[in-house]
Symmetry: C2
Subunit: 168 residues, 2 copies
């Protein structure tokens, strides 16, 4: 005879699965990122848009960088280095074909939210920047965070370690 799970048990599993599948990437992360202790800032989804970007395969993503008011003021005024308190948030989604308009690609599943926080004293060893990379609202592992600064340092040291420019 097969074991029949009680209905409440199944409901709990289903609810959890649905919650996990639909949990927005924007959910506030409980834990901070390895190395830097950065969390996803409240309200970041409402921040002003700095610029979009696209990342080719294999990632194949559309991205938008948003900035908090300190970041926006600095980037509009071409202020370098960025002042303490600057926060940049990069949102990324899989790039998928629009089902309604053939020439267009649009955001599919959200993949990562990536945060950069400027605090010259706290993050002195990494150009004044702390990094956080979040997948489904949870910080990625330490190995991924080890790679952040090395790449920013190698490629965009002359722009205070920030790739993104303000889109006109």
């Amino acid at each position: 005879m097969n074991w029949t799970p009680p209905k409440l048990f199944l409901t709990a599993i289903t609810s959890t699965a649905v919650a996990m599948a639909t949990a927005p990437v924007s959910a506030h992360a409980e834990a901070g990122s390895p190395i830097y202790g950065i969390t996803i800032p409240d309200g970041y989804r409402q921040w002003e848009m700095i610029a979009p970007a696209e990342e080719a395969a294999p990632l194949n993503e559309l991205r938008v960088v948003l900035g908090n008011p300190i970041a926006i003021k600095a980037i509009r005024n071409s202020t370098l280095p960025f002042p303490d308190g600057t926060i940049l948030a990069k949102l990324a989604w899989k790039r998928v074909p629009s089902p309604e308009f053939a020439p267009a690609s649009i955001p599919g599943t959200a993949t990562t939210v990536q945060i950069m926080v400027k605090n010259l004293k706290k993050y002195a060893a990494t150009g004044g920047w702390g990094f956080g990379r979040f997948i489904n609202g949870k910080p990625a592992d330490e190995a991924q965070h080890q790679s952040c600064f090395a790449c920013h340092q190698a490629l965009v040291k002359n722009h205070d370690y920030v790739f993104t420019r303000l889109a006109p």
Copy 2:
């Protein structure tokens, strides 16, 4: 003997050319769009980000749609049809390779700003939407505006004539 233009004349030409080349697309349009009389709304560049998109060749553009507070509230709540007062602003740039990070494409020259305004009474003949397409802050010609509603009607009538969805 060749005619030598006075220096002031050359300076005037050069200044005008530079001004035209560098005029931000975000400049407030003096004239309204043909058919609909829509202008570029003040402060639209500060509006909240709804979603990015990419348009394939020949346009080869990166785009971001921003919305005014009425638009954002409606799209967050999946309110259809969009209420009167909704304004959507689509910003577009040529998609160019990042000079700093090979897998990425970033915004190049700004190309168009496209505005949709919901006013059920004023724009009753076009699903309640007025359209404005601006190039360097100036409205495109009437022929371009004739094509707006036909395409939105054919492809996204079931989403109140709006292509863009909120990116998660």
